[in-house]
């Protein structure tokens, strides 16, 4: 096992284990805290893929903004703070879910491992993903060949902003 593989195993374990805690913890504030570790793990995966910029964005947006927003939501909603929420911890659910998940996972593994191994030379022949790692090149990609999707994303934000205002606006009667 190379160092890279060991690092991957560690990061993946952190991501998956904290994801499980997010789902099973009855206290919603703790569940939200574990969400931070899940997002951190995903950021770690980006680092392992040489996408440092994406990793930084992941930390900034998912941990810095989204999780904090969730926390605010929980703290400001009185009934939620101390509440114990029944999550998917019932034995019956697990008994039903486990075989389904295992079968699905086995199917996925069977589907994915072989073709990626055999199609390896093919994927390599495809245009190598341009070094999105360095900020400079990323900016170049976004503003040259991918300028249209980039601008389109701003249109999504505009629609979302107008929509959010419509929904949250106070009724003035």
């Amino acid at each position: 096992m190379t160092l890279h593989q060991i690092a991957f195993a560690a990061v993946a374990a952190v991501t998956l284990i904290s994801a499980v805690f997010v789902v099973i913890l009855p206290n919603i504030l703790r569940a939200a805290l574990f969400l931070v570790f899940t997002f951190l793990g995903v950021a770690g995966l980006y680092v392992l893929l040489n996408a440092e910029f994406l990793a930084a964005m992941q930390v900034l947006i998912y941990i810095g903004a989204i999780t904090v927003l969730i926390m605010f939501g929980i703290v400001l909603t009185q009934q939620l703070m101390g509440a114990r929420i029944r999550q998917a911890t019932q034995v019956r659910m697990v008994v039903i879910a486990l075989p389904v998940v295992l079968i699905a996972f086995a199917g996925l593994a069977k589907t994915f491992i072989r073709p990626f191994a055999s199609a390896g030379e093919h994927v390599a022949a495809a245009p190598a993903p341009v070094d999105a790692g360095t900020l400079h090149q990323l900016a170049r990609m976004l503003l040259q060949p991918y300028v249209l999707p980039f601008e389109l994303a701003s249109l999504i934000l505009l629609a979302a902003l107008v929509g959010a205002i419509v929904i949250a606006k106070e009724e003035k009667d």
Binding site: P115, A119, P145, V166
Partner: protein, 482 residues
């Protein structure tokens, strides 16, 4: 992929830019002159939509592609865009008095309608999986908000929330499919995917098949195909009638265009693999849509199931994937824009404040108080059922011909049988309006813009029956793409 963006590439997007400028103008007027905006925004939107139609027609006939092949402007795209813009124009017309009556914020309403239309148009001309996803998001986010636009009505809120949750989930499935297709082919460009599929190593790759399947699920949700249709009746029932009218044609047309581009243009070489899936989905969609529609007493829910059923017929043309099929899809969508918007316009007229009077019984004896309104509704019901002399008949005949040409006799039989079944619930509305004669027939007011919309829709429904060749000569050029 290092393709420089040529400044002239932006010319392809003129219709979208006209709509965007209009939307921003409406928002600005709304911010600075609220009273003026309430009166003027529908007319500004209508002018913008008309401008976009003119621009789209000017783009007709000279196939262009830009942004390194991300956006194509071919005749197929222009035809579907015409269907979408027709739907938008009619939806704006029927909204004029509705928005006032329901006291909805006018500026934001029309701006969101236009933003959603931009997403639809971009989705039609996308030739790149990333663009398809992003334009899907633009059109969906605006629609989620529009669905829950009547904030004071819990039904509308519930519908908006439901649509948002299920829609986000289906978008995630679509992205997963895009990622798998990229993993198998190394590209998100539809033309390059088509080129990759020539090599046998890629063709049998299960990752590619899984990706294609997930994309089919994601887009199937948007066109309301069974078994991804669960949201449709609740959303159509809860959403403001005008919004339901708008999305029943717009998001369906856009998603079908994307489906055609992905399945036929990019993955035509994979047809033996995806045919079985599309076959089953089409058969289920026609059957479930038409059978469940029979049991509906609420006209909005009935039209929702009718819209599911029509998605099934268009899916037959997609499954055929031949010349006739490609010709019939734009024709079907344009015909559907007229007849379905017309039916929704009548529903909007009969509905009273707060989305009351949506039961079939509210149409009882409508003919005796409003003969013209009831006559138009009868025409639209005939058209949706596929009875001549209406565009619905011609559209269905084209689809059936495509199925025959593709040797899909089983699917053809299901399509014909379900069409006959569907006549029952469409004609029932007509019977209720004409044959029943209650002591007090319903009295409704039909404002002028709404009347114009109904007249245009009725004229279009008959016109496309009399002169199907108008679009036929257009669609001939589409078929040459194959």
């Amino acid at each position: 992929m290092r393709i420089p963006v040529d400044p002239s590439d932006w010319l392809i997007l003129i219709p979208e830019f006209i709509l965007l400028g209009t939307a921003i103008a409406i928002l600005m007027i709304d911010a600075f002159a609220k009273a003026a905006s309430d009166r003027s925004s529908p007319w500004i939107s209508l002018a913008g939509t008309a401008g976009a139609i003119v621009a789209a027609v000017f783009l007709w006939g000279n196939p262009l592609s830009g942004f390194g092949g991300m956006i194509v402007n071919d005749d197929f795209g222009v035809l579907v865009s015409t269907a979408i813009l027709t739907g938008t124009a009619l939806a704006v017309l029927i909204s004029v008095d509705y928005v006032r009556r329901e006291e909805l914020p006018a500026g934001e309403y029309y701006a969101l309608i236009l933003l959603s239309t931009i997403g639809m148009l971009l989705m039609v001309s996308s030739a790149n999986l990333i663009m398809i996803f992003l334009s899907l998001e633009v059109l969906s986010i605006a629609l989620y908000v529009l669905t829950g636009f009547a904030r004071m009505r819990p039904r509308s809120q519930e519908a908006g929330m439901k649509y948002f949750l299920l829609g986000s989930f289906s978008a995630a499935i679509l992205v997963y499919g895009v990622a798998l297709i990229y993993g198998a082919t190394g590209t998100v460009d539809l033309q390059s995917i088509a080129d990759e599929l020539i090599s046998p190593g890629v063709l049998g790759n299960p990752v590619l098949l899984a990706g294609a399947g997930l994309v089919l699920v994601g887009l199937g949700f948007k066109v309301a195909a069974v078994p991804f249709q669960m949201w449709t009746p609740d959303v159509y029932e809860g959403a403001p009638s005008t919004v339901a009218a708008f999305m029943s044609i717009g998001s369906k047309a856009a998603a079908f265009a994307a489906l055609v581009r992905v399945l036929i243009f990019a993955m035509g070489g994979l047809r033996p693999e995806w045919l079985a899936a599309v076959w089953v989905i089409a058969a289920l969609t026609m059957t479930v849509g038409n059978l469940v529609a029979i049991a509906q007493d609420n006209i909005k829910r009935m039209l929702a199931y009718s819209s599911i059923a029509h998605a099934g017929y268009i899916l037959v043309a997609v499954a055929a994937a031949n010349r006739l099929g490609l010709q019939s899809i734009p024709f079907y969508l344009i015909a559907y824009a007229f007849m379905n918007l017309g039916a929704w316009a009548v529903v909007t007229a009969v509905t009273r404040k707060g989305e009351e009077a949506v039961g079939l019984s509210d149409y009882s004896g409508l003919f005796w108080s409003h003969p013209v309104l009831a006559g138009s509704m009868g025409l639209f019901m005939f058209a949706l059922a596929g009875i001549p002399p209406t565009a619905g008949f011609t559209a269905k005949i084209y689809v059936f011909m495509a199925a025959v040409a593709a040797d899909m006799i089983g699917l053809l039989i299901i399509a014909i049988v379900t069409t006959i079944i569907s006549a029952y619930f469409y004609l029932r509305v007509t019977v209720i309006m004409f044959m029943e004669r209650p002591a007090e027939p319903p009295v409704v007011t039909v404002p002028t813009p709404l009347a114009v919309a109904i007249a245009v829709a009725a004229a279009g429904t008959i016109w496309l029956f009399l002169f199907p060749g108008v679009t036929q000569s257009f669609t001939d050029t589409v078929a040459r793409l194959l």
